[in-house]
């Protein structure tokens, strides 16, 4: 956590500004910025503008006849009206998956950071190991795992935890599980990075000052790992909310997420509505992230 001058007391800041001469900046900074700026312009800014303008095209057009810009704001209204349910479902699933990732990932990251000793590197490799195969293949293999003839369902049925005609596959549970599994490393890695930086002597100091292990965790470890937790949450929630593979492979028509709908709309050539939904999703996520980061109080993160 770096504390920049911006966190100095207000009064002092003004004083400092009054005393210090304006900082001299060479052109070097701008030259270093150039490649990144160029990249962002080409691959982020241009597509975003295209996307936003597409969302305002006349929906009467098609790929063959072309689209005309008519500032058709109605696309947004139509999109929300027709796909509001999937929209809400996406956010709920992503939220559930994120919570599950925190519950599974925090203890794991904590163990790797503080308790793993010489197994640390091995455990980190194991966390990243799933990335060695493709996202698609991994999700497909969950079909086998959760399938009606899989050992999981059989075991649960034997243990009477699942009814005789119960399923795991093709349920919201399967979709959320898939999301959780796929995005867990994105939660664990930033959390680990944050936890690993915490000086264990701070926790000792906490114990010395009458904090029980639980209190020391709550008052010292947890707040100091906030940057990792926030980063992990964003890295999990954002892609999970827009994901369509898990719902496609592990769900049913009743578990479709907004990503599936956008995918289908694009496939069907309904570009304007699809674009409108994409822009809405983006706006909603940005707004939620903004609120979340503000609430989490980690101005140091950004």
């Amino acid at each position: 956590m770096s504390v920049s001058a911006a966190h100095l007391g207000g009064g002092e800041q003004q004083q400092a500004a009054a005393v210090e001469p304006p900082q001299k900046r060479g052109v070097t900074g701008y030259i270093l910025l150039l490649p990144g700026a160029l990249w962002l312009t080409i691959f982020f800014l241009v597509p975003t503008i295209t996307l936003v303008s597409t969302s305002l095209y006349d929906p009467a057009g098609s790929v063959e006849t072309g689209y005309s810009m008519t500032w058709h704001w109605q696309n947004y209204v139509d999109g929300i009206r027709d796909y509001g349910v999937q929209f809400g479902r996406s956010l709920v699933y992503a939220l559930l998956a994120t919570v599950a990732c925190i519950l599974l990932g925090y203890p794991l990251a904590y163990a790797i950071a503080f308790k793993s000793g010489r197994w640390k590197n091995l455990m980190l490799v194991l966390v990243i190991a799933p990335f060695f195969t493709s996202f698609l293949v991994r999700t497909l293999s969950w079909q086998l795992l959760l399938g009606d003839n899989g050992f999981l369902v059989e075991t649960l049925k034997t243990l009477q935890l699942l009814g005789p005609d119960g399923h795991l596959l093709a349920t919201p549970f399967a979709v959320v599980t898939g999301l959780t599994y796929n995005f867990l490393p994105f939660m664990v890695l930033p959390l680990y990075a944050s936890l690993e930086k915490i000086d264990p002597r701070l926790v000792e100091a906490g114990h010395d000052l009458y904090a029980s292990p639980f209190t020391a965790f709550r008052k010292i470890t947890l707040p100091l790992s906030m940057p990792g937790l926030v980063a992990g949450t964003l890295l999990t929630f954002i892609p999970a909310a827009g994901d369509y593979i898990n719902a496609e492979l592990l769900g049913t028509p009743t578990t479709r997420m907004i990503g599936n709908e956008i995918q289908d709309l694009f496939g069907a050539g309904a570009y304007p509505v699809a674009a409108a939904l994409s822009v809405t999703l983006m706006a909603v996520i940005v707004a939620m992230v903004f609120l979340y980061v503000r609430r989490a109080g980690t101005e140091e993160l950004v």
Partner: protein
Amino acid sequence: MAGSDLVLTGVTKRFGAFTAVDDLDLTVPQGSFFALLGPSGCGKTTTLRMVAGLEEPTAGSIRLGADDITTLRPYRRPVNTVFQSYALFPHLTIFENVAFGLRRTGAKKVKPQVEEMLELVELGQYGGRKPTQLSGGQQQRVALARALINRPQVLLLDEPLGALDLKLRRQMQIELKRIQTDVGITFVHVTHDQEEAMTMADTIAVMNSGVIEQMGSPAELYEHPSTTFVSNFLGQSNLVAATVVEKDEDHLLLDVEGSRLVAPLARAAALTGRVWVGVRPEKVFLAHTGSETDDGSNVLRGAVVTDVSFVGVSTQYLARLPWGQELMVFEQNTGARLSFRTGDQVDLHWMPAHTFLLDAAQDATAGVEREVAE
């Protein structure tokens, strides 16, 4: 709080095969200012950590008053620590750092107490800052305030003044001593600065490689060192090889390369055979060679001044004896004494009462500080 002496009995701490603290016996009377003095790596921090409960002794027991606290969890001990590394909570303000202990114990009126404590360490204006926005010395004072505010039965201070400049350090030494006298808390103060230990402590324990070499009041340790390590680590000493030739009721007669010296029995840590004759540099006088000296003085004749350094209040000489050994002599610049120059032929003399004897089996250079940095 009555009768809560801190007692360590046979405390040993091993890290693997390495013994950091070896069979330590220590009694720190309640309300005393106790200094643990020793060179880097001798086990001071480890000892404190065991008292704080952050490290469990491999063997031995630690008692506080009537309670055995050897295995008591650290957060249940009425003991607080000023850590060598400060260990301030980076995510909390200075105010909240200092309030941390009070908040845990559910104390009332936290705010006025914290403000008072910050005032005491002269950081009243800094309550709203984060630790990284303070200088090293300021952080150290926060660490002190954070521990002290809890009024523990025992306050452990691990080199709490190490990062301060000389002036502030002196000021804080006086302040600490005053606080300690006022509140009557037992202070266990770890330092490797012998001057700090001597000015502040009621009792000093000199520690070396995991064992306590000697324990006593500052004057006692200075005047009656029992090992070469203590004689060199606490102040400076001249140690000359000698043989005991005779012994009467309260004196020992010694032979040093043909010169006869006398030492009081009361200051002898070794009584027979080969010994080290010790004398502090400020107790030795220089005289032109062959000149009269007081009757009964210990005299070593035929030395040559090899180095003269003027340090204001005193002049420090190095004088080489005929057999090549160099002794230190500090002469006060009172104006009443002769001054000498490099190459002068001199005799060294001092009173027998200022002579001490140590075991010749010990290393004469143990505890000699290499170039005191300050």
